[in-house]
């Protein structure tokens, strides 16, 4: 097990370097630089502009700049935000909590609803539940994130006035109930995007599991249907569902950028959008490091969990 994890971590290193190199190149090759942003804000003399570029290290060729950045990263230094005039670490540290909260709630929501619907759909194929769950999956997969967000805001915030449309807390006081109310819409939007995947996976693997001989053994023991379906079929069927969890993480990251922006959620996603707009290279790269490490780590952990769930897999 330990050897497996070490091997997976070693494999992840080149992937990580590849991702950061590409993002570094894309960010730097896009027109405009942090110096331009500063210049655009006020009247900057030519000499000062050049000086600023040198100070920011923008005068050197791209590969050298990447190598220097990577060297600093190895010392745990993500650099200084050219926009917020603070350490990128601080900036991210402030935003990571809300993002994890939103993403975690969304996954939990999608997994609970998706697995429950998938189980019911497989237990009675082509029944009403099966139809409802396929309709829900279809809506989730095919409706753009922003559209769904705006629709929900219109209905629940504008029309019904039930839910807050912006931010994380009601202004003035931080309360748990306020947090949950603010969380509800963005988490649902993000979750709905993933729920279809979980429904489909669960339904497929439950259909397979329910046809297995050991299900007949379980019934022959005199167990009730709930025990047969949950303890025996689902115990085997949700192993492949866990495997697809890793695949949904990139969807989640992409979705979070849009959703956080629309709902004014103070997370990494909206920080990313802001950093791109202001050509804040160090912050962009800091977030890239964080997200890619996160995705790689999640996948390694899931593979390990997968082998724990299925006793036939030895790693």
């Amino acid at each position: 097990m330990l050897r497996f994890i070490v091997r997976r971590i070693l494999q992840a290193i080149p992937i990580f370097i590849g991702i950061t190199a590409i993002v570094f190149a894309l960010a730097n090759l896009a027109p405009g630089s942090p110096a331009d942003v500063v210049a655009a804000a006020g009247n900057l003399p030519e000499a000062a502009y050049e000086e600023l570029k040198t100070a920011l290290g923008l005068d050197k060729p791209l590969p050298v700049r990447y190598a220097l950045w990577l060297g600093r990263l190895l010392h745990g230094d993500l650099g200084f935000s050219s926009n917020a005039h603070r350490q990128v670490w601080d900036l991210i540290g402030q935003r990571i909590g809300p993002s994890l909260l939103l993403a975690g709630t969304a996954i939990l929501l999608a997994l609970t609803v998706g697995v429950a619907l998938g189980v019911m759909a497989a237990y009675r194929p082509y029944s009403r539940w099966d139809n409802i769950s396929s309709a829900l999956s279809f809506i989730g997969v095919s409706t753009p994130n922003f559209f769904l967000s705006l629709l929900l805001i219109y209905i629940f915030a504008v029309r019904l006035g039930l839910l807050p449309a912006q931010g994380m807390y009601y202004t003035g006081h931080k309360s748990l109930s306020g947090l949950l109310l603010h969380l509800l819409m963005p988490a649902s939007v993000l979750g709905l995007q993933m729920v279809g995947n979980f429904v489909k996976q669960t339904r497929n693997s439950m259909l397979t599991a329910l046809n297995e001989e050991y299900i007949k053994t379980a019934r022959a023991k005199g167990l009730g249907e709930a025990a047969v379906v949950l303890r025996h079929a689902l115990r085997n069927a949700w192993i492949p569902v866990v495997a697809t969890l890793g695949m949904t993480v990139p969807t989640l990251v992409g979705g979070a950028v849009v959703t956080e922006q629309i709902f004014g959620w103070p997370g990494i996603g909206s920080l990313m959008v802001h950093s791109i707009n202001t050509r804040d290279y160090n912050t962009i790269m800091g977030i890239t490091v964080l997200v890619s490490l996160g995705v790689l780590a999640v996948n390694i952990v899931l593979d390990a969990v997968y082998s724990l769930l299925d006793p036939r897999i030895k790693v």
Binding site: E213, Y214, A220, K221, G222, D310, P311
Partner: protein
């Protein structure tokens, strides 16, 4: 024709089982009547596809939901019709009265649960459904004792293992242990030795006959192997294409087989000392149950075929024996003439 000295524990009367494919419903078992008393072993024998497993599964209501059903007749267990039971009543029968062992020992155990968990689950379900309670410790102890009785080596260690870590013979012992955990009055064994090699097969058969003597359990033993039948059967019911073709005491089947299909099955037993000879096999195959021709179902493969066989032969009672063949039907000759 069953032993009249004992009231039957299990009795099937004119049992008819159908499957649905699309809109069509077709019978895979028809007009099956048999009975079995406590402590006796009845073998259902016939080639693959004759309806043996379907018959065994029907007893416990384990036909595939939505496609298979008992369409006629009754299955009486201690006088009660199992076909008419509610789901809750059937659970009580399954948990503490009738056990079943399936052929595929690799697929019949849950791959994600340890042996211990699956065994104790049987013990606990038995107690729960019968309205009693049993602690985890007690269930564990009882399961361990079962494994020991099944001749499983290092049982404490086995309890923590997963099915894929065990050999086929070991898995089959565990399945038998799980079945016996319920202290059943009736054990249905669906080809429990077919997937095992010969030595292990002999060990499992020994184990089963030993347990039967010790517990007085009735056994409905399903097999296609006449060699196995010879070792364990008190009664034999030969099935062909969903019907009974011959039914008798084991002795009557082996010493005086009447139906040409029974003859064929007996000639296909490998004889010790006659190795090297080509094994006899009945020519042809079991007809497609979805499109049965009228008349005797064995006609195509029968060496005695005659015009009369285009009509379905009646069941004839000859002393202890029942046989479905025109050659033994009273007046069969006359009708043909």
């Amino acid at each position: 024709m069953a032993d009249s000295s004992q009231p039957p524990l299990l009795e099937a009367r004119n049992l008819r089982i159908t499957f649905r494919r699309g809109r069509r419903e077709f019978a895979v078992v028809e007009d099956m009547t048999f009975s079995l008393a406590a402590g006796q072993t009845l073998c259902l024998v016939g080639e693959s596809g004759c309806g043996k497993s379907v018959t065994g599964n029907a007893v416990l209501g384990l036909l595939p939901q939505g496609s298979g059903r008992v369409a006629g007749g009754e299955i009486l267990f201690a006088g009660r019709d199992l076909v008419a039971l509610s789901a809750g009543e059937m659970r009580r029968i399954r948990a503490g009265k009738i056990s079943i062992i399936f052929q595929d020992h690799a697929a019949s155990l849950n791959p994600a649960h340890t042996i211990g968990r699956q065994l104790t689950e049987s013990v606990r379900t038995r107690e729960k459904v019968l309205g009693r309670g049993v602690s985890r410790r007690e269930a564990y102890g009882e399961s361990l004792a079962l494994l020991e009785r099944m001749g499983v080596t290092s049982p404490v260690w086995r309890m923590r293992q997963y099915p894929h870590e065990l050999s086929g013979g070991m898995r089959q012992r565990i399945l038998i242990g799980m079945a016996l955990a319920k202290k059943p009055l009736l054990l249905i064994a669906d080809e429990p030795t077919t997937a095992l090699d010969v030595t292990v097969q002999a060990q499992i058969l020994d184990l089963m006959s030993h347990l039967r003597r010790a517990m007085d359990t009735a056994i409905l033993f399903i097999t296609h192997d006449m060699g196995v039948v010879a070792e364990i059967a008190d009664f034999v019911l030969v099935m062909y294409a969903g019907q009974m073709v011959e039914y008798d005491y084991a002795g009557g089947i082996f010493r005086n087989p009447l139906h040409p299909y029974t003859e064929g099955l007996l000639r296909s037993i490998p004889q010790p000392g006659r190795t090297g000879e080509r094994l006899f096999a009945i020519e042809g195959a079991v007809p497609d149950l979805e499109n049965l021709p009228p008349g005797c179902r064995f006609r195509e493969r029968c060496p005695y075929g005659r015009p009369l066989c285009a009509r379905m032969p009646p069941v004839t009672q000859l002393e202890t024996k029942q046989v479905r063949c025109w050659r033994f039907a009273p007046g069969g000759e006359k009708i043909e003439a």
